[in-house]
């Protein structure tokens, strides 16, 4: 056609000279024909339209009579723009091609490559992000003209934040002749063809529609190269909820893909036609297959997958969990809240360094027993409550304002004791501290209990994983993990108590011990400040004032006791004790936290860039192509506060979050929050801190260690967020034309 047109124009140009009557008639006829043709938009190839290059290409440079010709519509949108699959999903429009071919030529359907899922907030689209070649096979008749014009009217929708419809009249002129591979396109087209969804050798897939709500596609595990990601793309409308998360569940030799059915799917006729895409691929070598399973309806929803199956869950073996728990227990001794108790313990050993090895051993064992019993009690309570349906996790003790208040008072009393405000008993016996070896068995046990109590806020490194594992196991296994943790915590003392040589190396007892003891009171006062702050976060500043009045009264009582209890006059002693008791009781009554626990977050408004966490917010941000960083934290978690101050809120880290378009969220577990407990469960953890970095879309989250460093966080961001993008926010696949200037 183009050639005719060219001839026609040349003829007009020179017509005045060469025209004859015969020629005039001939050209008039041609012009008549062409007028009809030219009422169509002018054909060109390739064309540039808004945000997209479109071109018609062929795998051969000539058309061979009687042999199939493969042509392709090449759509190359700008970066981050996309076009649509044959089923565009919730919105959008499939690319269309109308072929206008010479007599006898017949075009087959478009051979669609497997699509990608493109999330748009609560909606999902199916299409191609970036360049795509849509192949079509054309049957060529045995007798063809010398020049074959392949003409196509293509229309498409190309989208990024806005979408722009486009169309073009494309033409590709090919000479007749023996087929010769196109040097540019033959290989590309062959590659695209090889990657088309495999229609012939797909695995046996079964489709069950459970209770009209959930699809379960099952295929043999052997059909997959490995169990990785699976995605199903339905060919037709009305079968599946496009935006539903698709979940891979392993059931023995079967791998299932589960996702939500569209409302009304149960009433549909026919088979569930579509494309199944596997990463890292199917056993037959293809990465996508055409499936068309018959539909079986069942009444009941399947049991949820076992909790440890998904990729997000820690798949720790028991041995590893026990090892982690033990190491975590050892490290627990160095945590800020346990440290003063460690100091006291060391003093005990110094003081007892000259007592018999047997007595030392008993001390170590009793301390360990104290730790164990306390851990068992706390863990047992936790498991029992969870078994009863409560959503709790490790550290739950501190979610109760009463427990926080009690701990604050306990630390305050310990600190006063160490400061020398009072001493218990006539024999200068002290609560958890230096005791005579022969008399202090009860105290050794008690110090173990106290050390455990004060340790619970500090979920040490490794402990999160170990405890998460523990809680998802049967009760005996869970208890085993907690036992390992307790043994780890007691281990240093056990080692000391069983090796007199080590104890011998400790400094000799002396007055320095009194000084050290008094000095160690100050970390305890700081711990009190922290606990009071936690209470303030939980139920407000009034409760803080009441607690502090209560503590002051209690302290006054202890001072009265310490000042006059050793008096030689019995009457003075009795009065002092009564006074002390009265003051202490008044203190307890005044300090008792009355306010009900407020639901919801107390740290939500921490600072600028941190948004309040919710599962929907995470899903939505990921759906829009943004990575999400979630800080699972609590006011009572010291590690959390340290990480926040020293790492997460640093300018460099914050800047990187912004650069990589990472949404940062805070899930605040200071008070009880079942939603957060469930989210922690899903991550295989049961305590805070947990730092989870979710990739955009569906991938498994990346869990960061519990003690963060700047390097760890920056590296994780780079790893998950990919290459730097422009700061402009994206709204992919929304279709619209923004006409405002």
């Amino acid at each position: 056609m183009a050639r005719l047109w060219h001839t026609f124009r040349s003829a007009i140009r020179f017509g005045a000279i060469v025209i004859t009557t015969m020629q005039l008639a001939k050209y008039a006829l041609v012009a008549l024909v062409l007028t009809g043709v030219l009422s169509l938009p002018a054909a060109a190839n390739p064309v540039r339209r808004d945000h997209i290059d479109v071109e018609l290409i062929a795998s051969t440079t000539s058309v061979q009579p009687g042999r199939t010709l493969t042509v392709a519509l090449r759509l190359k949108p700008d970066e981050h723009w996309h076009t649509y699959w044959k089923n565009p999903g919730d919105s959008g429009l499939a690319t269309q091609i109308d072929w206008q071919l010479p007599e006898g030529f017949r075009a087959g359907p478009i051979q669609w490559p497997a699509p990608q899922r493109i999330d748009v907030g609560p909606l999902a689209n199916y299409g191609y992000d970036g360049e795509v070649l849509l192949l079509t096979d054309i049957e060529v008749p045995d007798s063809i003209p010398a020049n074959v014009p392949i003409r196509a009217a293509a229309s498409w929708l190309v989208c990024e934040e806005i979408c722009i419809p486009g169309d073009a009249e494309l033409v590709l002129d090919l000479p007749a002749g023996p087929a010769a591979a196109d040097p540019v396109w033959a290989a590309r087209i062959a590659k695209v063809r090889a990657a088309l969804p495999d229609a012939a050798n797909g695995p046996e897939v079964e489709a069950v529609l459970a209770a009209g709500q959930q699809w379960i596609l099952s295929l043999p595990r052997s059909a997959l190269r490995d169990v990785g990601q699976l995605s199903f793309f339905p060919e037709e409308e009305g079968w599946i909820e496009y935006a539903s998360r698709q979940q891979v569940v392993e059931q023995g030799d079967t791998v299932q893909l589960r996702f939500a059915a569209a409302a009304g799917a149960a009433g549909k006729q026919g088979r569930l036609n579509g494309v199944l895409v596997a990463m890292p691929g199917f056993a037959n070598g293809s990465s996508s297959v055409v499936v068309s399973p018959a539909v079986t309806l069942t009444d009941t929803l399947p049991a949820p997958p076992p909790p440890v199956a998904s990729a997000a869950r820690s798949s720790l073996t028991l041995a590893v969990a026990l090892a982690f728990a033990f190491i975590g227990g050892v490290i627990l001794n160095l945590m800020p809240c346990v440290f003063p108790v460690v100091g006291i313990k060391v003093l005990t050993f110094v003081e007892n360094s000259r007592s018999s090895p047997a007595s030392l051993r008993s001390h170590g064992l009793l301390f360990a027993l104290g730790v164990l019993v306390c851990f068992w009690a706390v863990a047992g309570a936790l498991l029992a409550l969870r078994a009863g349906g409560a959503t709790l996790g490790w550290g739950f003790q501190l979610q109760s304002p009463l427990v926080v208040s009690a701990l604050a008072l306990l630390f305050f009393v310990l600190a006063l004791n160490m400061s020398g405000v009072f001493e218990l008993g006539s024999r200068a016996q002290q609560l958890a501290g230096s005791v005579r070896a022969q008399s202090g068995y009860a105290d050794a046990f008690l110090s173990g209990v106290i050390a455990t109590l004060v340790a619970t806020p500090c979920t040490a490194p490794f402990m999160g994983a170990a405890l998460g594992f523990a809680i998802t196991q049967s009760a005996p296994l869970a208890m085993a993990v907690f036992t390992a943790l307790a043994l780890g915590m007691a281990a240093p003392y056990l080692v000391l108590s069983f090796s007199p040589k080590l104890v011998g190396r400790l400094p000799k007892p002396g007055t320095w011990m009194v000084s050290l003891k008094q000095a160690l009171a100050f970390p305890l006062y700081l711990t009190v400040v922290w606990l009071v702050w936690v209470l303030g976060r939980q139920i407000g500043v009034d409760a803080v004032a009441r607690l502090m009045i209560g503590m002051t009264m209690f302290g006054a009582g202890l001072w009265v006791y310490g000042r006059w209890n050793t008096s030689s006059a019995a009457r003075v002693r009795m009065t002092a004790r009564a006074m002390a008791m009265l003051l202490a009781l008044t203190g307890v009554v005044l300090g008792w936290p009355h306010d009900s626990v407020p639901q919801g977050s107390s740290l939500a408004t921490t600072s600028g860039n941190w948004k309040t966490w919710s599962p929907d917010a995470v899903a939505a941000a990921r759906g829009s192509g943004q990575p999400v960083f979630v800080d699972f934290t609590a006011a009572w978690c010291v590690t959390c506060q340290v990480n926040k101050r020293l790492v997460l809120n640093r300018d460099t880290v914050q800047a990187r979050f912004r650069e990589r378009n990472v949404v940062t969220m805070v899930a605040d577990w200071t008070n009880r929050d079942p939603q957060i407990s469930l989210a922690l469960d899903a991550l295989g953890r049961s305590g805070v801190p947990v730092y989870a970095l979710y990739p955009p879309g569906n991938g498994a989250p990346m869990l960061l260690p519990e003690l963060l460093t700047e390097a760890i966080v920056l590296e994780a961001i780079d790893q998950i967020a990919g290459p730097v993008r422009t700061a402009a926010s994206r709204d992919p696949s929304g279709i619209s034309i923004d006409q405002e200037k």
């Binding site: 409308e237 949820p304 997958p305 899903a682 619209s736």
Partner: protein, 206 residues
């Protein structure tokens, strides 16, 4: 020993939550149409329930969407609105675009646009939070719903059966909404009550 089963049911709750987070609530034809109250661009509050006893058409709308423009610039949507409002049908045009999106138009601008198009809905309503859109599972503009006089949803889906952005397709397309309304008013049930909508994605907040 503590039973293992409750831990499993806990996991079930967890899964249900994850699924719930991903799934959208949507009504099917035959279900009760969720009631709502939205503000018209002229400031008046409008509830679905106040139109009990009449057929109500809900039209999801975004003036900047090429598919919506196809039906307004051709006059197709206005003709439907006028024709059926004459037959006592209530026509509510709902825009669920979130205010942060470049497609959002404030009430004044929306009024102006609708006036320029000589649109004739009973009301143009703004749903900036997208709650009504999500309650109905509206996913495209346009996306059409019909509620019967008893408050039951009787149609949901596309405006017609030719998913394209070309006005040339309108005369040859089957208009599902007109067909459904005609059937309903003739006392019949809707033969195609659940069809595929086509158009731009609704610009929900996320």
């Amino acid at each position: 020993m503590l039973p293992f089963v409750p831990l499993r049911s806990l996991a079930a709750v967890c899964l249900a939550m994850i699924l719930a987070a991903g799934a959208r609530a949507a009504v099917e034809p035959g279900n009760a149409a969720p009631d709502f109250t939205l503000t018209r661009v002229d400031g008046k509050a409008v509830s679905l329930s106040e139109f009990r006893g009449k057929y109500v058409v809900l039209e999801w709308f975004n003036s900047e969407c090429p598919f919506v423009r196809k039906h307004y610039e051709s006059g197709n949507m206005q003709a439907l609105q006028t024709a059926y409002r004459k037959r006592d049908v209530v026509w509510l045009t709902i825009n669920s675009t979130n205010p942060d999106h470049s497609n959002f138009r404030d009430p004044e601008r929306s009024t102006e646009i609708m006036a320029n198009w000589k649109g004739n809905p009973t009301g143009l309503l703004l749903d900036p939070d997208g709650t009504v859109g999500q309650a109905y599972g509206a996913r495209t503009t346009p996306h059409m719903y019909i509620v019967d006089p008893r408050g039951t949803l009787v149609y949901r889906g596309g405006i017609d059966d030719k998913p394209s952005f070309s006005q040339r397709d309108i005369p040859v397309a089957k208009n599902y909404v007109a067909a459904a309304l005609d059937e309903l008013m003739a006392g019949q049930s809707v033969s195609e009550a659940d069809t595929r909508p086509y158009g731009c994605s609704v610009k929900y907040r996320y």
